[in-house]
Symmetry: D3
Subunit: 250 residues, 6 copies
């Protein structure tokens, strides 16, 4: 039993609410436990210079954390004048993983930017951002279809992300799914898995925070991740369905 | 009758929900029409260098807008590497107006930072930020009293803010209260009033967007502002009361 | 009687000397008491991207203070790598107020930049900058007429600015015109008025530095400002006339 | 057979030359095929603020690429005024992986900075940097022992890194070890493995560049990586031995 | 005869007016022809970190050019967010040359900053800045003596600067003193000489703008420079004498 | 005899190894004593905006120092976010001196960038950079001839650089050639000479580090420089010949 009362393979309560950014082409507020991320998809009819005149689109992401999303206030990146290495690493990850499930040729020369802003942080913010951003992206693409800009939604699959880790005393550490902040900050190893349907892997980032971990431990983390994302996949599909249903009726 | 169906002196629906930033010492999500601002008060036991060893506290603010809070996406200030002049102007205004109602000697050598982040923008974001920040500040100060860090809440009054403007055709322009984005962007003049109780004025920023306006027009704007903030004062007090009641029971 | 020996409605000695920036299309050195600002108008045959192909011009301003314009040396903004919030606020104000009296359609697709650099500061630098910049702008526009680039000077009016404030002991504070630095730094409230002819108001920025002020006090400040700018209007017109007379003879 | 003529599990020629940065406490020039990285370890008798007075040391890294280390010249980061997200991601990785094999309590309040500068790039620069940095760190720690600052070398293990990937036509893609630039830029998936002795895993970063990959493919990459690092471990130990032997004789 | 009508060894009219920056410990407005530089010396009772606790002082300089000091407006460095290489080069030169004539041990742990701001540019701004800055520094040091902070003025000599160059058609180019902007921008070679009394050399910066120049040409430039600075030395001493006389009577 | 055992006019051992940056159009690793600089020439088929459509080319340089090229580690400029004044001064010097020996009209609208990165520093890095960059530039231009982009190598001459200085006790100081770091940091005066063949001077930068120096001393430094560069000229030509010979055979 974990300090938060969850079983090793139990993820936190998930809710995905569409429409949180009222001007965005697609948006959700995703809550996973006490972590809360606003994901907004913005469509622009142009691509970055390195892609011009090639007939293919671009999907990118930006990530931010409100200064008081965390236990103690952290300095505002806009005021410091630069984004931290952590921020850049996360936003590169989000963009890369979404591009892995978009048919960019079918998208054409448009850019979709996913803004993922953390309103409240309690561990797993990058995973929540990816999971929510996929829904926001899906809604924006559906909107382009309704506007007859696209013929079909150019998504080739579904992605969701979850962090798993090794927690507990060194001599008896166990693998658990969906770390909250308390677990994350004391874990012996921490791995973020971005997974697709049917056993596909999009990205793995596994890090020993203390001593190296074993292959067996790694496999245990991967198994837990696979279980967790199946739940997230269901939530994502339900959120999309509900939002499309609402737009259909409107 | 205005295009949005409101009477000249009618302000939009207001809601102030405490606790939106779960880690902050005080916070609210304020909604005024479709404008939505998350205001979080953070307390730190130190003051900036220019105030050290003088026994007085500091209250300051930072303002931000999520990239897709607006009709079209605007560049993220953290990515651009600097805050715009508009952002700096607004956050200086918020800090200055809150300091006008805090007894900084009674506060002692602590800093309270109000982070005001706009989630959705439809005009009046700086006014919503001030109005919400006063509640967040109040809740944070109350928390310091409950923690026995302060003996009493060092607030000397209440402030709220509203924008009024001259709208309509040049030959028949009228003064209206609480501009939404559509009105704000076509107004002939725009004035932000930060007002205190009992007729007190904390700040006036009045600007002719086109030709100069007359003193009579200015007085009309000021009268409308006075009426509007009285409504905001009531909402602020109710939000504080409800939040304190909840903490009392907890 | 004020510490500086002036009556409540008495402004400092004013001088406006054209031609201070010898390369500029229009320029003045304005002195108001010991405050000294060099204002230079530069004309460029293009407009910023957001205005292109619309047939209308742009008027903007930049403001700076030499590091030792002040009592103690302040860091050079170019060395710090960014302009302070105060600098940006002031330069936005100067640009906005000049645009209010320019017929930008008659100007056509040109940009006029007003550089206002404070050589010596003793209070009221932003007001001196606005008052001087109007003259520099006027001279630059006249030069464009002499060069047959424009048919007529596209100015729709005259603007000048003055700061007024509430000074003296709390129980007996009075309204005075044209604050110098000593008054400004101890004033209970401080208001900058940018006024046009015939009672027009272009901008008001009024701020309570301590407790809120009353509407009656605000009206007293506005009355003083109206009186002060009338004197500035005369000085501005004399400076323009003298400079044009000199160019005419040249 | 790969286009470069190597077998699937064959890594490129490796050389590790100590002493390349003559002022550094430890340094090597590591060459893996045509990739060439200068790794220098600098010791400073202090730790960053967040670690002060805790009796534990810090190991960190910085990464850079000379502008013409690559096929076409890339802009100098010092001239652009900021490090790219890629640079920050890599230097965070290098620092993190070295900290995983240092006993920071035994190190005491000192900071060791590993500067890894790429002179020539042909794929695998981050892996070469990690592999070389471990040797530079080892040499610097040995020097502290010879200077009697430390009693013993506070290393808890050996780490080296290798990139493996899925290459070839989509229908017949195979896993190969130690990608060069040509392979890396066309790989379907790319994984960097930072491995320790005895089967330990320090970090895995696996990314689908196109469609998701399968678990079986991932296991194949991991097996290749395990084989490759064994060769690197031998080279690292030989380089350390040779350098220490030389210092011993000196 | 030069296009400007001057003889080869003839420098432009010089005027040095003390007191131009009213708050500075020492200041002058120096005019050399149409070049105009405001030089202000600021004294601060501290030294930079690298000099602390060594009992020696620091003299440094900052240089700036108002945006419209030049023929066409140049971007404001504060707005661009960085100082150009040219600016940094010049301010390093000014600081270095003044340090060459200050007894920094006699100065003690104080910093004197010379701000040299170009109001109007017509060639030779760095030389005018050096020549004026020496006077401003001298006046500030004299003030410290009058305030009994220093026992004597810790200057070991006098420095002034002049630019000379090779101008005219390639086959018949001649050496001339004190280049104005028109000459400077077409000169085949340009040399800045910072000279001391009694034949001393403080700094030489000589540059071939086109083909290399000969030693004989260089010697001709040096002879002209020696002649020109003698005139500047006289002007400097007169300006100091007049200013001290005025302070003495005050 | 100097502390390093060299005669006053004796320069350190020189080696110039072509091909150090394998992707660059021309490159060398130059070693002068323990100073080691990698010089890479990159050709791009475009010129900066200020030169467009004029049919002339551009030659420019960038300079950097690896953080641990020096005795103690210096902060990485890319991490600090700006290049120091010293760096900018040096890279401007390198570019300027190379442009003095290139026929830019014959080059046509191409840019050649010389990246000079110091791997190990022991005095004279800017002079080594210039001397090495001339060879790298020469090799790149030869390559353009071999590629039939240019008809002939558009070099009008040869340049090399050397630093000389006044060292030793104040009462008996002597002029010496090719200062190493120990001499450079204690020299009474330091001069960098960039010289061309046949007695031509491209650039002189002479600085009194303490008291002014005399004309006689300056002439002694210039004589030493002339002797030293003759040796460098031979080395440069040999390096070019060897590299071209190798390319010819290839």
């Amino acid at each position: 039993m974990r300090p938060n009362g969850r079983a090793a393979d139990e993820i936190r309560a998930v809710s995905i609410t569409p429409g949180a950014a009222r001007h965005a082409e697609g948006s959700v507020l995703i809550r996973i436990g006490n972590t809360e991320v606003l994901c907004a998809a913005s469509v622009e009819p142009r691509v970055p210079p390195f892609l011009r005149n090639q007939g293919i689109g671009w999907v990118t992401a930006e990530y931010g954390m409100l200064p008081r999303a965390t236990h103690s206030r952290s300095a505002r990146e806009a005021a410091k004048g630069k984004q931290s290495g952590r921020t850049q690493e996360i936003q590169r990850l989000i963009g890369r993983t979404l591009r892995a499930v978009v048919d960019r040729r079918a998208l054409g020369e448009m850019t979709i930017t996913l803004d993922c802003d953390v309103l409240n942080a309690d561990g797993g913010t990058r995973c929540a951002a990816i999971t929510g951003a996929w829904v926001a992206l899906n809604l924006a693409l559906n909107r382009l279809v309704r506007m007859r800009v696209l013929k079909a939604v150019p998504l080739t699959g579904q992605v969701a992300a979850i962090s798993c880790g090794l927690v507990g005393p060194a001599e008896a550490r166990i693998a658990v799914a969906d770390l909250d902040y308390a677990e994350d900050s004391s874990a012996a190893a921490d791995a973020n898995f971005v997974l697709a349907q049917a056993g596909g892997i999009v990205e793995i980032q596994a890090t020993a925070e203390q001593a190296p971990f074993s292959e067996a431990e790694f496999q245990a983390l991967l198994r837990l991740a696979r279980g967790g994302v199946e739940t997230l996949f269901v939530q994502q599909r339900e959120a999309v369905a509900k939002a499309l249903d609402a737009s259909g009726r409107a």
